[in-house]
Subunit: 109 residues, 2 copies
DNA sequence: TAGACACGTTAGATTCTCCTCACGTATCAT
DNA sequence: ATGATACGTGAGGAGAATCTAACGTGTCTA
């Protein structure tokens, strides 16, 4: 039986699974960036970054704004919220996690 | 070049990337479970579940307790905390969620 | 002890993922 | 207009991830 639809990542969890994509998201947390600026610090080619961005855009984790020949990407926070809420469901973040939250912030300022 | 050491996923994000593993974690959020009970509702074979559990154990997301011929698995919440803290870093959790958290603590001291 | 049960593990095939290379399309500068 | 710049896309291949089937080990029950 052939694969039903198109293969590939289609949820936020899959997006977060790749270190390069996490790196890109971290960078975008500081605000809008151009592709070239995103691809600079990263260990793969600009083409690879472009493909990661396409994937992330299709999932809805980032959005694009065009300005001349440049494209600015920004975070789309709602999708990431799905991960937060999933974690809260299974981790009971509110009740057991709050004390650890303080520790995490001490450890990773 | 072949993979140096043990194969596969080695971080929490990778663990969360697979729907079956998330399903298992959701089930474990309710407390300790046996492998058979975990494998029941899931769409893959018990063998596949076993392999997922091994992976999750190696990452430290779950832990095992043996009792006779059965094995009970439980959540190891600290590892999942890494995802939480990562999300907070990039998503500015403080601004959207922390106020609600404060209200919650005021309401339930 | 014999057989059922609860699991783990390995092997092997199949499907995904991710990368680079090469090329195509706009847009800007001269 | 010409060339450089900023990106995207598609092909193709290497390697990773995942599944099932078959088998092995220890434990319980009759």
């Amino acid at each position: 039986m052939p694969a039903a639809g198109a293969p590939g990542i289609d949820d936020v969890f899959g997006v977060l699974a790749h270190p390069v994509r996490r790196q890109l998201l971290e960078r975008l947390a500081g605000g809008e960036r151009r592709v070239t600026d995103l691809a600079g610090p990263v260990a793969v080619s600009r083409s690879a970054v472009s493909q990661h961005l396409r994937l992330m855009r299709s999932v809805g984790v980032v959005a694009e704004r065009r300005a001349g020949r440049e494209r600015y990407y920004r975070l789309e926070r709602d999708r990431l919220g799905e991960v937060e809420s999933w974690l809260m469901r299974i981790d009971r973040f509110w009740e057991r996690g709050f004390r650890r939250l303080g520790e995490h912030l001490d450890a990773h300022p």
